[in-house]
């Protein structure tokens, strides 16, 4: 772990402390396939909103 962190540039290293670990805990409570389904659904929803906004000239 130390070696992985050491290899990062300082900016990225600092950002590790800003990660919301409650989201990780929630994700770890799910099964791997449920994690994948949630992530896929979220990405789809965001893409739909983005496409709809773009088609309205937003």
């Amino acid at each position: 772990m130390a070696a992985l962190i050491e290899a990062l540039d300082p900016e990225v290293r600092v950002a590790i402390d800003d990660v919301d670990r409650t989201l990780i805990a929630l994700s770890l409570q799910q099964s791997p396939w449920d994690r994948l389904r949630s992530a896929s659904r979220m990405a789809q929803t965001l893409a739909r909103i983005r496409d709809a906004t773009a088609s309205q000239g937003g």
């Binding site: 805990a25 791997p32 389904r37």
Partner: protein, 168 residues
Amino acid sequence: MPRHPKAADLAALLAALGDASVEFIVVGGAAAVLQGAPITTNDLDIVHRRTPENVARLLEVLLRLDATMRYDFAHRGLRPTAEMLAGKGQINLSTSLVPIDPLCELDAGQGYEELLAYTRPMIDEGRLLRVLDLPTLIAVKTKAGRPKDRVVLPILIATLQERDKANE
């Protein structure tokens, strides 16, 4: 733009590959998600085994899912071929499920066989998946150093830390 739409299901694509006995390693964002990283992803990056038999199995699934090249701006509906899948490059495909990028090698000399030792087997819903482990994924993204990798690296490190903590 890719003509394939909306009915996206990453898990269904993985299931289709698994049901056809395609040998592959999940890499990229999906590998991170499967191991608990709270990020979104809607495509599948895989490194597949490049034996003729496995390439044929993969190609059969891709063609059944109406796979076409994503970066074909003339919209010719170009299909993947066995030669492409047996080569060394990366293929960007749109399918009737979700986009999939079969990578012949993750990096030079990092094909399926070389990466196998760095995978984590995951069994869920009766299916065995081989997923590139988080330390290797972090090392790959650190080396790549692209903005999109740098954004996700802190989340991957934190996920690894939390997972290790939970396993103590």
